[in-house]
């Protein structure tokens, strides 16, 4: 009855993993459950699956959990759950009873004959498509992970792309971050020239002016105003922080997008359009004075 003991141990570990207050202990209890599960696999005769489960389930996944918890923080969340615990326990009990009732016929004694096909032949010949899909799945996971864990630059790049793809004539200022300030050609500090560029909180905004707008998302960021820029459209996208964009000066291009993908960098491909996105506002003021 070693299987019974192993199942009891795995179930106990799983219960502890759910009951644990701290996330780290929950992850470690999950690792314990995974190890016991690997032993059950082995006792059932699935040796390769047991090895893989032990190394991946108990090793890799636990490391991933510990890493994620160390990044995200181990805060305990108190408060009532969405479903009352008594109701949830009742539903779970019903589920267990129903499953046992469904599975009550499959209690036939274990066959003693050895399996004809081993894992190797099945995995590499009969189910080669599964292996292919697994490889594709792993690559999908890697790409998704890179996309998710990349710095907010990815969102900014997409914002500037959206700014580029927007139709011309309407100049466009994308301020995807939260506390975007409406900037009538300059930030709330002073020197409000023309070119109304509205950045309503959160989303991109399109300013219908012909003059080029300047987007100043946050606090001390400055934007040198648009000095007589006949550009029909010069979108300036400053998605984050203290980036500032000095829009095109006398830019002849129809569209002179000045996007600031990162915090400091700026790029305005227009003709003779200096774009500055410094961290301090001093440089922008200097440049504005120079202009």
């Amino acid at each position: 009855m070693v299987e019974l003991l192993l199942v009891i141990a795995a179930v106990a570990c799983a219960i502890q993993a759910i009951r644990a207050d701290r996330l780290l202990s929950a992850a470690l209890w999950l690792a314990g459950a995974s190890a016991f599960m690997a032993m059950i696999f082995y006792s059932l005769g699935a040796r390769e699956a047991a090895i893989i489960e032990l190394s991946v389930g108990a090793g890799l996944v636990t490391v991933l959990f510990v890493f994620a918890i160390s990044v995200a923080g181990d805060q305990s969340i108190e408060g009532k759950p969405a479903v009352p615990r008594a109701l949830a326990a009742m539903l779970a009990g019903l589920c267990i009873i129903g499953l046992i009732w469904l599975l009550r016929d499959i209690v036939a004694p274990a066959p003693t004959a050895a399996s004809a096909s081993t894992l190797t032949t099945v995995l590499w010949h009969d189910r080669a498509l599964d292996v292919l899909v697994q490889v594709a799945l792993i690559f999908t996971g890697v790409i998704g992970l890179l996309g998710l864990l990349a710095e907010p630059r990815a969102a900014q790049a997409s914002a500037s792309l959206a700014a580029l793809a927007s139709p011309a004539v309407a100049s466009l200022a994308a301020c995807p971050t939260d506390q975007a300030a409406a900037s009538p050609a300059a930030c709330p500090t002073d020197q409000a020239l023309a070119s109304p560029a509205a950045c309503p909180t959160g989303q991109a905004a399109a300013s219908p002016a012909l003059a080029s707008p300047a987007a100043c998302p946050t606090g001390q960021a400055l934007a040198s105003p648009a000095l007589a820029s006949p550009a029909l459209a010069s979108p300036a996208a400053c998605p984050t922080g203290q980036a500032a964009a000095s829009p095109a000066l006398a830019s002849l291009a129809l569209a002179s997008p000045a996007d600031c993908p990162t915090d400091q960098a700026a790029a305005s491909p227009a003709l003779a359009s200096p774009a500055a996105c410094p961290t301090e506002s001093v440089e922008v003021e200097k440049e504005a004075a120079r202009l």
Binding site: V7, A14, F65, A82, R85, A116
Partner: protein
């Protein structure tokens, strides 16, 4: 009372699925939810192996289990990355506070 190993494994499947559903209902932490999903996936693997052992097709069952392990790990990786991003963006992991749309 002498249960066959398959019956024991199926009993474990039922209990693990039950407590997994209980955890899904009561968990409020995103990472805890991912832990519960792992438990549910382990129950599914055990069910595969019990069925394979009953049908004398351990090769097929093991290949299925390997597929499940791979898919489950990828799901865990993506879900943990999502949880980290949620924590960065909203400052909390509480699923009840992640309601931008209030009805």
């Amino acid at each position: 009372m002498s249960l066959s190993p398959i019956a024991i494994a199926l009993l474990g499947v039922a209990i693990l699925l039950g407590i997994g559903f209980y955890g899904l209902l009561v968990a409020r932490n995103l990472i805890k939810l991912i832990v519960v999903l792992q438990i549910l996936a382990k129950a599914a693997m055990l069910a595969f192996l019990a069925a394979g052992s009953a049908q004398e097709q351990m090769g097929l069952a093991q290949s299925m289990v390997v597929t499940v392990i791979v898919a489950d790990t990828v799901v865990a990786v993506i879900a943990l990355a999502l949880a980290v991003q949620v924590k960065r963006r909203y400052g909390t992991l509480d699923v009840r506070k992640l309601t931008n749309l209030r009805g």
